[in-house]
């Protein structure tokens, strides 16, 4: 029995798992927040899809003999269409859009000539398998793809060949930027090393906005791949975010401003050499701006650390906190005595606290478990995140104001871009 909001999802998912004709009954949506009487009324009423009495249908599902189709075994390969399409440029733009192969915005048409030019930017062979991707681990089978598949998507996003190794590195992780959940989640990538200069990425004024080709296109390629390489991003089937998220268009691409940062670059923290080009992945709820926070208006020196601590207040502890600090903030924190990223992380662990009572009211924050939890009462004050590695810091921005942004996101992994050149 499935609530009607998940009708398409339930049917297609049963089919993908090998039971295209599974007998599914539907109840009205939602059941969460309804009274017992209201739910019982659902049972006495009809299945909103079939229009038949709901419980009669459930009993019949379990007792009506199977048809020949329902008993079928064997293997089916879902086709994804012809390898190439031929038409006028205008018709092809429309065809790609109508068939869900785009983000509903214009693309560069992936002609063989353009795809070949893209392929020249890597030493890897066109038919080499790059990875596997699924819109949600465990819920959908993963699709695989080759260097050439990635190149086609890179062309479509507007990439020049220089960007291709970075896009291959993204594809190699198998991380979809359009994760299927009823939460409308977002993805971010931090870029470090010489690739930032080689691709002329923007880590200055407006770094996360529409002001630079590499930032824009690499982020967009990730979303196009998340639709085309794994069958993801189909609203109601492989994408269930109730409200959606604007950031899914181009994702958060954050090249670190290494030269203006007083701290170790992010990839070096993760064990890479400064001269390596690396892309690091984050995943979580969203990003917000810090300038509303308490403490920033303190005189004469803004209390950046207090604002950062206050601003994570509404964050879910399911994911961590990623701070994107303008270089002015990083230097300002230095003036306040925080000389390394670890210094500020350790201060935040100690000083960012929450009561057990509050945690219990937060849907995606779990109260502590284990032996030490036995002594806690509702009024106990506990760290929001007990571990310093829940806090991550990247320095980025054009130094026009000492502002920070912060994301309720967790670090996932870092991969070498150089490996894909």
């Amino acid at each position: 029995m499935v609530t009607i909001a998940f009708k398409d999802l339930a049917k297609t998912n049963a089919a993908k798992r090998g039971m295209p004709l599974q007998r599914i009954s539907f109840t009205p949506h939602p059941v969460w927040g309804k009274t017992d009487d209201e739910m019982y009324a659902y049972l006495e009423g009809n299945d909103p899809v079939s229009g038949k009495p709901l419980m009669k249908e459930v009993v019949a599902s379990l007792t009506t003999p199977l048809t020949a189709d329902e008993m079928k075994t064997g293997t089916v390969t879902p086709p994804t269409g012809a390898p190439t399409f031929t038409d006028t440029a205008d018709n092809l733009q429309q065809y790609f859009l109508d068939n869900g192969m785009t983000d509903f915005m214009p693309i560069i048409l992936p002609t063989q000539e353009k795809v070949d030019a893209m392929l020249k930017a890597t030493s890897h062979k066109p038919d080499e398998v790059v990875g596997k991707m699924t819109p949600a681990q465990g819920a959908f089978p993963a699709w695989s793809y080759t260097v050439q598949h990635v190149a086609v998507n890179a062309v479509m996003a507007g990439a020049i060949p220089d960007y291709f190794p970075t896009i291959l590195a993204i594809a190699s992780t198998g991380i979809s930027a359009l994760f299927s959940s009823t939460n409308s989640l977002v993805s971010a990538a931090v870029i470090n090393g010489p690739a930032r200069e080689k691709l002329q990425m923007n880590y200055g004024i407006g770094a996360m906005g529409p002001f630079n080709q590499a930032n824009a296109v690499i982020g967009r390629a990730w979303t196009l791949m998340s639709k085309n390489l794994d069958g993801g991003g189909v609203a109601g089937e492989t994408y269930m975010g109730s409200q959606g998220n604007v950031i899914n268009y181009n994702n958060l691409i954050i090249p670190e401003n290494e030269k203006d940062s007083p701290w170790q670059p992010f990839h070096v923290q993760k064990g890479f050499k400064p001269e390596e080009s690396v892309i690091s992945f984050f995943f979580g709820f969203n990003i917000t701006q810090g300038q509303g926070g308490k403490g920033l208006g303190m005189r004469p020196i803004p209390h950046y650390h207090e604002a950062m601590s206050a601003n994570v207040g509404p964050f879910a502890s399911l994911f961590g906190a990623l701070f994107i600090l303008d270089p002015l903030v990083a230097h300002g924190l230095g003036d306040l005595g925080f000389k390394t990223k670890d210094d500020i992380a350790n201060w935040l662990v100690k000083n960012t606290t929450v009561t057990v009572k509050d945690v219990k009211t937060m849907l995606f924050s779990a109260p502590p478990r284990g032996p030490e939890a036995a002594n806690l009462t509702d009024d106990s004050v506990i760290p929001k995140w007990p571990r310093a590695d829940a806090y991550n810091f990247v320095v980025c921005g054009g130094q026009t104001n000492p502002y920070h942004q912060l994301a309720n996101m967790s670090y996932r992994l870092s991969v070498s871009i150089d490996k894909w050149t």
Binding site: G158, G241, G297, R299, P300, I324, K360, N401, N408
Partner: protein, 436 residues
Amino acid sequence: MGIPSAPLVTKAFKDLAILNAAKRGMPHERICFTPHPVWGKTPEEVRAYVEGPDPVSGKPLMKEIVDALTVPLSDDEKKSGMLSVSVGPPTFTDTADNLQEFYLNNGYTDFLPIIIPTEEKVDAMMKGTSHKPEEAVGKMAAGAYPAWSYNVRQVAASAVMAGCKPEYFPIVLAVASSGMASLFSSTNSFAFAMIVNGPIRDTLEFNYGIGALGPFAQPNATIGRAWTILSKNLGNGGIPGDTYLGSLGNNLNYNNAVIAEHEDASPWVPFHVQRGFKKEENVVSLFRGLGVVPGQVARGSSANDNVQFDYQMSDLFSTFTGFFGALIIADPLVAARLKEQGYDTKEKLIDWLYKNTTQTVKDYKSRNYAYLFDYPRALRGDEPWASWYKMPDDALIPHFPHASDINIVVAGGQTNAYPQAGNLSYGVSVSIDKWM
């Protein structure tokens, strides 16, 4: 004023200061620069700036200031008259690939592929409106700059580039006519949102269901994108260091938050009707602010209790600036539940949220926007800030100065009872029908 003045500017704003003086008619204004920043520096550090050199000219700063006020004017500096500004020829001719690159390299795009605005396509776009190609649409400035003007044809070129269909054009024209740019010059990295109401949501197949704010429908994607492209081309916005200064930038500036209201599933009056339009009118309403955050993470969101909406929103608002308001984007499931709890109008809910989302005066005064915007208003006697600044530290005051700073819209696919909230202020509502 007729009195010699020496603008003293921190180095981060060098290009901005020079260009802005020029745009306002003083291309040779004598501007002196100090190192950046002065905010957060001690008086001793700042004294060293004063005793030291201008970081741009390398000359001693104070000598330069005195010279700026006393060295006689050159002939150029005394010039008056009109100066015209060129934006290049009316058309460009080249291969499709080269034009794609040319538009990108000249800052006409958001750095993503466009539909090349050939005369044929621009003409087809203009078939989406009854208004004449040369009719003036409006004026736009990306901040405190002289505004640029534009006609229907110029708007059409940006609409084509963004990937709009001709049917979408009246909405793009309505947005352009507001004169509100989606790229605003501030060191804050502003975000923008639009709410679309009326039957056009269905005619154009807007997505107001699952994934409403995401990349899942052509009108949502391209109309939002057109706003940014036209803000660059028609309002001269989005030039980093000149007409765009957001230190970190904002990802929402690519496509903006386009919110088609889910009117059928909402228990409340649609947003445009709240603003005095008829239900059957098509209206676009524009918002500006800092961004949008998810509500299901906050305190009070737990499944174990009944969702405590006031507690949830207080928690989200605690990080919002009170300079902008709040735009709550409620999934229809959230709206239905709130109605069951007795909030049968948006106004009732807003009034209750205004009264119940509070902060202490002490916390309030520690916020940057309070010092920067509200304190000077308090000094001038403006309310409610003047009263707030007289209250004791532990007094509770509302998070937002007025109940009208809070707005509510319903959108979403009902897969979960989650709200989102934007730190966004209402700007203006414009009739789309007027531009049909």
